[in-house]
Symmetry: C2
Subunit: 390 residues, 2 copies
């Protein structure tokens, strides 16, 4: 057996990619911070009761379970950080007003979400608690758009949905939990034949409305279609009014609507959104309202936020060309060495990578680690010269 | 049951501490990078055969085990990142020359290492592969000393040991594995009565030499004591010569020696070191040679490195006083709003935290999240004024 083989869908991140990820991590966390989002670090594991509070069966199945040797209780490795941050807002900070938090950390999934998905995404996100008004959703959309722009990503569109619409129809049609689950799958897949089959026994106007949901897709005309196709339930009216008011507030972001997008059904409570960019089939970031999660922790709080996989973002974001390193002789004693150390310190202070040579290695070895210049003593002065392999 | 209680020795890190950790993380990773250490991100879990290769029973017991649903094989959550980085050097990069790598990530332990220890340390470290000479050890000691200084930590001393001394004595005395294990414990605890008891049946000169090891402690005189107390075995002679030459090369670092320090016995192969600072009883950083780890992965490579718990470092390192945030009105439309957004952008560009007000919250709420100044429109110009709670 080859000992260095990693489990399927688990990867090492090697130098160039790792530094690219680190650069994006800093850029995004700094952007969140400048907007008042405070950084928190929730733990990798918690008791399952706490970790899976308010979440669906889906997250439960994705969560690795472990036995705590100290308590004998079952712990889980987090598969999503957002519920942990909601717990921190609800119980640890326990502030009366608006709280903005952000985070960045690895999560683990028992099974990869898709053929090319990793089981260890690096989740980064921002959350806003304590404000139910549309201003919070607008801030979130702008923060996400700004973060993607800072990453060098061209956002092609942001799809906005509202789980309130489906919820109102499902409640009106008195759907059973498993029926709702199947409908959910068919709507996500925009699978009209299955949808028709599943809705056979559902009463009007809910049947026609649920069948029409996938057509409520596109620009502002999607909201007009929704108004004419969907029954005039108060919850639906409110959801459409919220979406219309959001569209008015962020005209520059080119929103489109998708009322059949239910990715966060078990979790989200209101508006949901997904950002897309060129050269990537799926959404690069997901977010929305989840006002009920705090309630599960015993403290009801309005909440909205988004998150994305920083490793995926790094694959799509343009990297910066590496400048290359400077090779300096191995430090020794003497005046020249003291002068050299001063030069090296100055170069490093300017952000240069300066690698100290170690004796007995061929110059090709130093080329291998990216040295393209060399610090050389020439006429009593330390100078940077082009690195030449001997 | 209170759902938000975390398992014992597992903690959330809240805003002020979390940002302090993030600041130190960046400072250290930048320092490593400027010295040519390339950042890598090994995964949180691996098959146990790979994760525990070349390590002792101690690490095995500290490692959480999981079953891989894709392969049915046992995986472990890493309890130490250094062996993963050795695997990356040995197999993924596979370079002929010197390779410098660094990393920063969480590890998990089944049980806390001590009464106040966390089960989720944030391990940060640097490793140098492919150079067996003393120059690499010198570079490591200097890099560690520099990193601690950058963190604002006053290093009180660095203790240096050499597992080759104990190894040579244990081999000479033909100790059995469990006997060696017990001796190891007694030496670490500097427990002379147990040591005497354990060494009763051991032949001279090994018995006297092992009893004398705890006395080989202190400045350069410790090496002199070692020379007079310990038998003149070639391995011991070499170890002492290496230590002497190290002490000569880093006179400014105030090394002390401790030949009974065997913390890395199962892992390390030569020189080992531990850095101490004021107001902390244990070592703040541990490091040393582990030339045999690469061999376990099928590629023998000289290796030396160190690591530390960034969370522990953050508790000891002085923080920087927070400047406080600026509260800006909620963005709306109109000329004043456009002008305000430009001012806000400029302030954020300068590193200020600017928080957008959301309607309907009391000014005490904004005080709670650190706002001490406010952006106000005064005579047609946006100005920063002291924040006053109404």
């Amino acid at each position: 057996m080859r000992r260095w083989l990693l489990p399927e869908a688990i990867e090492d991140v090697l130098p160039a990619e790792a530094w690219h990820i680190e650069t994006l991590r800093r850029r995004l966390l700094d952007e969140f911070r400048r907007h008042g989002y405070e950084f928190v670090i929730p733990p990798l594991l918690e008791y399952v009761e706490s970790l899976l509070t308010g979440s669906g069966r889906d997250l439960d199945l994705r969560t690795f379970k472990l036995v705590d040797q100290l308590s004998g209780r079952t712990m889980g490795i987090r598969a999503d950080i957002a519920p942990q941050v909601a717990r921190i807002d609800a119980h640890l900070l326990n502030r009366t007003g608006v709280t903005r938090l952000c985070y960045c950390g690895s999560v683990l999934h028992t099974l990869p979400a898709g053929l090319t998905a990793t089981r260890q995404p690096l989740q980064i996100g921002a959350e806003l608690y304590g404000h139910a008004g549309i201003e919070a959703d607008v801030e979130m959309l702008r923060l996400l758009a700004g973060a993607l722009q800072l990453s060098g990503i061209t956002t092609t569109r942001i799809d906005v949905g509202h789980v309130g619409v489906f919820r109102a129809l499902a409640d009106g049609a008195a759907l059973e939990a498993d029926q709702e689950q199947e409908l959910f799958g068919a709507l996500q897949a925009k699978d009209q034949p299955s949808l028709r089959e599943l809705l056979k026994s559902v009463a009007e106007p809910y049947r026609s409305a649920l069948l029409a949901l996938p057509e409520c897709y596109g620009g502002n005309e999607a909201l007009q279609r929704a108004e004419s196709f969907l029954p005039a339930l108060p919850e639906i009216g409110q959801a459409l009014a919220e979406l219309r008011s959001l569209a008015g507030a962020v005209k520059d972001l080119q929103l489109s609507f998708d009322l059949a997008d239910l990715r966060g059904l078990h979790y989200h409570s209101g508006m949901v959104f997904a950002a897309y960019c060129a050269e990537h089939p799926g959404a690069i970031a997901l977010g929305g309202r989840y006002d009920k999660v705090g309630k599960a922790f015993g403290r009801s709080r309005a909440a909205t936020g988004f998150s994305l996989d920083l490793r995926e973002l790094a694959r799509l974001a343009p990297g910066t060309a590496a400048l290359g390193a400077i090779l300096a002789p191995c430090p020794s004693s003497g005046d020249d060495a003291v002068a050299m150390q001063a030069v090296v310190k100055e170069l490093r202070g300017k952000g240069e990578i300066v690698i100290n040579e170690l004796p007995g290695h061929a110059s090709a070895d130093w080329d291998q680690v990216g040295c393209n210049r060399r610090l050389t003593l020439r006429e009593g002065r330390w100078q940077i010269e082009t690195f030449v392999k001997e």
